[in-house]
């Protein structure tokens, strides 16, 4: 029964926390650089951010290579283990790709923008905050890290201060965020009341030790799930998602669609896996999951989320909005991995998240690159654009086919892994529903392909080839090549995901 752990944080803890520390330093340096340049030299912040992200990435890779033993640091609030390492790499990839790509994005760097550099260091700060989300092992840290990501997100969504859509998006985000955080906080307080513990394994011990009322546990879990569903945009807490994506600048929407979602999943995995599922002793956990009928709860949320996202995406004529709804449906596929809280299911989530990050960022970036030229995200304006920029079009086909889940692209490998994990435990209706959903997905994803390649542009329309910046091509290629290669050769990524989850279960 302790509110705060007695383990005092020490400077030596930082040895395990170098990437996070570097990113915090980068944020401050880039902020200072912006001040020195009086807001007119975004290049300073850009260079510092890129450099910081690369350095942090190098340290994260080094940490992976040097072995995966788990370390509890910062007064037991933070754990650095295999899963944290996995997500670190994922977030740095997403952050770095976004920063690099936005350097040539009109929506960020256009002539009328005032606060150009802001975008870069906010992305860095968000990356750091997301890493902490993946490392939290205590209710306090869980809430703090979620709010930190949220705060940065609100500012980024309102990046275009003079745009009505952007400010509306930001406000919507804040209000939804505040409400769902409040609900979650209530759930967390109930949990603390039931168990008297703040750390995840303490909660687990408390739940197993005492007589837990099933109904009150169920209500608590649902309240907590509400806050987390908001973060990952699962139905019915998804309402903010399309509006925010549409209102925010596209590069911001791009990182929103992968970063905070992946962080939310990381948090959910650690929280629910530690408190309700296996932990150190798999046999003891079954009663807790059964007590609240967790599998059915999760299966229903997953089914509703994927179906809703898909059906609404069918009717979208704005590519950004379509991608927003499609990302909701992907959350549904991801949630399938949660149904049984098995190692295979959770590893499938990690696998899918990595693949999803590549392909979804790629699709959003293509939208950014096209927006630079045609100043539109409407499907009708995409007519014939594939022939004006053949390589860009080809890469968009790769990303969209991968999002659909057609082999030989990475998205198929992800779906295959999730389906296998679910069918292994005989959840056939869920697998069948998900499979049919991916057929629905084909229709709206390929409406974009159709516009780009099949539809002939209207008479007199501009048909000159588009000049895409080399940096954009490079970033897109860095995303497209693995999207293709991972479709053929996904063994290593699977091993990585399995290891991350394996270390999670032993690292407690």
């Amino acid at each position: 029964m302790e509110l705060l752990n007695l383990n005092i944080p020490s400077w030596s803890d930082l040895a395990y926390w170098r990437p996070e520390a570097i990113l915090c330093g980068t944020f401050l340096a880039a902020l200072l650089g912006d001040l020195i340049g009086r807001g007119r030299r975004p290049a300073i912040s850009f260079v510092i951010s890129v450099f910081g992200l690369i350095t942090a990435g190098a340290y994260s890779v080094a940490a992976v290579l040097h072995g995966g033993a788990a370390h509890t640091i910062m007064g037991d609030l933070i754990i650095v283990d295999g899963m944290a390492a996995f997500f670190r790499l994922l977030f740095i990839l997403a952050g770095l790709a976004t920063v690099l790509f936005s350097w040539t994005a009109e929506e960020i760097m256009g002539r009328k923008r005032e606060n150009k550099a802001e975008f870069f260091y906010l992305t860095v700060l968000m990356t750091a905050a997301m890493m902490v989300m993946a490392e939290a092992r205590d209710l306090l840290m869980l809430f703090l890290s979620m709010e930190a990501v949220g705060l940065v997100s609100y500012v980024m969504a309102g990046y275009m201060r003079t745009s009505l859509r952007s400010t509306e998006a930001s406000l919507k985000y804040v209000i939804f965020g505040a409400v769902s955080s409040g609900i979650m906080l209530y759930g967390l307080s109930l949990l603390y009341g039931m168990t008297g513990a703040m750390t995840f394994d303490g909660i687990r011990a408390g739940l197993l030790a005492g007589e837990v009322n099933g109904l009150s546990l169920l209500i608590t879990v649902i309240l907590i799930l509400a806050g987390m569903s908001y973060k990952i945009a699962a139905v019915p807490f998804h309402f903010w998602c399309p509006d925010v994506y549409e209102g925010a600048p596209t590069p911001v929407a791009a990182i929103f669609s992968v970063g905070p979602k992946a962080a939310g999943f990381a948090l959910m995995i650690r929280f629910f896996y530690t408190t309700l599922a296996a932990g150190a002793d798999p046999s003891a956990s079954a009663p807790l999951i059964e007590l609240i009928n967790w599998p059915l709860l999760m299966a229903v949320i997953a089914a509703v989320t994927m179906t809703y996202g898909n059906l609404v995406a069918l009717r979208q004529l704005n590519v950004k909005r379509m991608l927003a709804y499609s990302s909701i449906s992907h959350v549904g596929y991801l949630l399938m991995g949660f149904v049984l809280l098995t190692d295979a299911g959770l590893a499938a989530i990690l696998f899918y998240l990595a693949v999803y990050t590549l392909m979804n960022l790629g699709a959003f970036f293509v939208v950014v690159a096209l927006n630079n030229h045609i100043k539109s995200e409407e499907l009708d304006d995409y007519a014939g654009i594939g022939f004006r920029a053949p390589w860009l079009g080809t890469m968009m086909v790769i990303f969209l086919a991968s999002l659909t889940g057609v082999p030989p692209f990475a998205g198929f490998a992800g779906k295959f892994y999730v389906f296998t994990a679910v069918m292994d435990r005989q959840w056939f209706w869920l697998a069948i529903l998900a499979a049919l959903n991916s057929v629905v997905g084909l229709y709206y994803y390929f409406r974009v392909v159709k516009a780009m390649f099949l539809t002939r542009p209207a008479e007199g329309a501009d048909t000159t080839p588009l000049k895409i910046h080399w940096l954009q091509y490079t970033v897109l290629a860095v995303l497209a090549v693995p999207t293709l290669v991972l479709g053929f050769w996904f063994g290593p990524l699977k091993v990585l995901a399995d290891q991350a989850i394996g270390l999670l279960s032993t690292g407690m």
Binding site: T420, M423, A431, L442, Y443, L454, V495
Partner: protein
């Protein structure tokens, strides 16, 4: 290339596609030549395959077996038997001919030939994969090129036809995916005890888990697989994508679609469903012949009602694939003597081959006239026989082969199918035989309206068939004629393997 002949056949086209991607798009002749070369080498290898194939065994030959993705027990496992070799030959032949037939493509040449070669890789892969996962990947690899080939180079309603084709096929293949995962999780590798995608392990019923031995489960998985394959065949009522796709697709794509892609459906049933779920195959024997009869009659009646030549040929494909189903169903009936079963299944597989060649001739023929007159209305012609005598004789040859004229290959396979089906399902066979009469009716009626009768003055200036077009038609014509007189070169290939299949399925 001797040891890895299947891999070379499969991957040479895609290497060609990669080369084409780096040729500047203005150099159209070079692109076409590279494409022709990339399709010619598999054809040469196919001849080598034909010569080197041991006809005396039902075991898989030219086997290549490597670990691919270890953590999921996925292997790179290729091999052919008497069922797949005819299909490989057909694919190699038609792909090369289609590249030649596409010479006049002028729009986005680079994309067209690159996609065509990727498609060829997918087809070879499907017919030689012995790992279920590998099979599935190849199966799906074909969808994307096909979508673009119809969607970019097709006719006026190409966008609709392309996405319809894609949606239908994907809907079928996700069901196949689920069935595949169910197999993966419930079949154990006899050596390691782990899960496996190896088809040979899946064929062996002793490796199936207890759950997989439940009758209801087996029937459900069978149906999942069957719908996946039925959409490809296509079996009525899953056929509606076919006329649309055919009408809109460019000529060469129609040829591949009807000549090879449809065969993948029946091939999938014979390669996967039958040996893995033999009891379900017996259970489904009667529905199968009924569906076959429906396909034959419905396709033939629809063909008769068409006014578009290409649509007529498309529906005739539906009808002709019905014969294949008839033979496949008749083979599974328990208690039928071996000889009838052999006639039925050999006829069915032979019909797959023959339909591939005959329908290719018909589509190529329609393509010839479409290139000149820019329409395909049956009633818009008349008297073409006087204007284009050489073309008329070629096209009539194809049409006579389609109606099953004795002396041409289609007759032999259809006769074998009826010989095999008659003892097993007498009534169905008798009803289905009506299809031959209706087939003769729509074929002859078209022949009459297009080529005979008074000459249409509008087409006074149409040139006759040229050398390149002849080059595409003559080799197929020779094969049709040769196999019609002496079918053994193909029948010998498949006989032993198919007899083994009968033993597996009908005991």
């Amino acid at each position: 290339m001797g040891e890895h002949i299947l891999s070379w056949m499969t991957f040479f086209p895609v290497i060609g596609a990669a080369v084409i991607a780096f040729i500047p798009s203005e150099r159209k002749e070079i692109i076409k030549t590279v494409a022709a070369a990339a399709a010619a080498i598999p054809l040469v290898l196919a001849v080598q395959l034909y010569i080197g194939f041991d006809r005396g065994t039902s075991a898989f030959q030219f086997v290549e077996h490597y670990t691919w993705i270890k953590s999921f027990h996925i292997e790179y496992f290729m091999g052919v038997d008497g069922l797949s070799v005819p299909m490989m030959l057909l694919t190699a032949l038609l792909s090369f001919i289609c590249i030649i037939a596409s010479w006049r493509i002028d729009k986005a040449v680079k994309g067209y030939f690159a996609l065509f070669l990727i498609l060829e890789t997918g087809m070879f892969g499907v017919f030689s994969a012995l790992d279920f996962f590998l099979f599935y990947v190849f199966w799906e690899v074909m969808l994307l090129p096909m979508y673009f080939l119809i969607g970019i180079w097709g006719g006026p309603r190409r966008e609709y036809a392309a996405i319809k084709f894609f949606l239908y096929t994907l809907a079928g293949s996700v069901l196949m995916l689920l069935a595949m995962i169910a197999f993966y999780l419930n079949v154990s590798d006899p050596v390691t005890g782990g899960h496996t995608f190896n088809m040979l392990h899946m064929f062996n019923q002793a490796n199936h888990s207890e759950w997989l031995q439940l009758t209801n489960v087996r029937h459900l998985i069978w149906l999942g697989l069957f719908i996946g394959f039925a959409i490809k065949v296509p079996i009525v009522p899953f056929h509606t994508w076919l006329p649309d796709a055919h009408v809109e697709a460019p000529t060469a794509v129609s040829v591949i679609l009807a000549g090879v892609l449809l065969k993948m459906g029946t091939y999938g049933i014979l390669r996967i469903s039958y040996p893995m779920l033999p009891d379900a195959a017996q259970w489904f024997a009667y529905p199968m012949v009924i569906l076959g009869a429906i396909n034959i009659l419905y396709g033939a009646f629809c063909a008769m009602a068409q006014t578009d030549m290409k649509k007529l040929v498309a529906y005739s494909s539906v009808s002709h694939m019905g014969y294949v189903l008839l033979g496949m169903g008749a083979m599974c009936k328990v208690g039928v003597d071996l000889q009838s079963a052999q006639a039925a299944i050999n006829g069915a597989v032979f019909q797959m081959f023959n339909h591939g060649t005959i329908t290719a001739m018909m589509f190529l023929g329609v393509g010839v006239i479409y290139d000149r007159a820019h329409h395909r209305e049956i009633n818009g012609f008349g008297g073409l026989g006087m204007q284009m005598p050489v073309y008329t004789s070629f096209f009539s040859f194809a049409l006579f082969a389609a109606l099953g004229l004795p002396g041409l290959s289609g007759f032999i396979s259809e006769a074998m199918i009826f010989m095999g089906t008659f003892p097993a399902y007498r009534t169905v066979a008798m009803v289905s035989a009506l299809g031959i009469v209706i087939g003769a009716a729509y074929v002859l009626w078209m022949l009459q309206r297009v080529f005979l009768g008074p000459k249409n003055d509008k087409y006074d200036s149409l040139p006759d068939i040229n050398a390149r077009e002849m080059f595409t038609l003559v080799p197929i014509g020779i094969i049709v004629l040769l196999l019609g007189v002496y079918p053994m070169p193909v029948l010998n290939l498949m006989k032993v393997s198919l007899t083994n299949l009968i033993k597996v399925v009908a005991g």
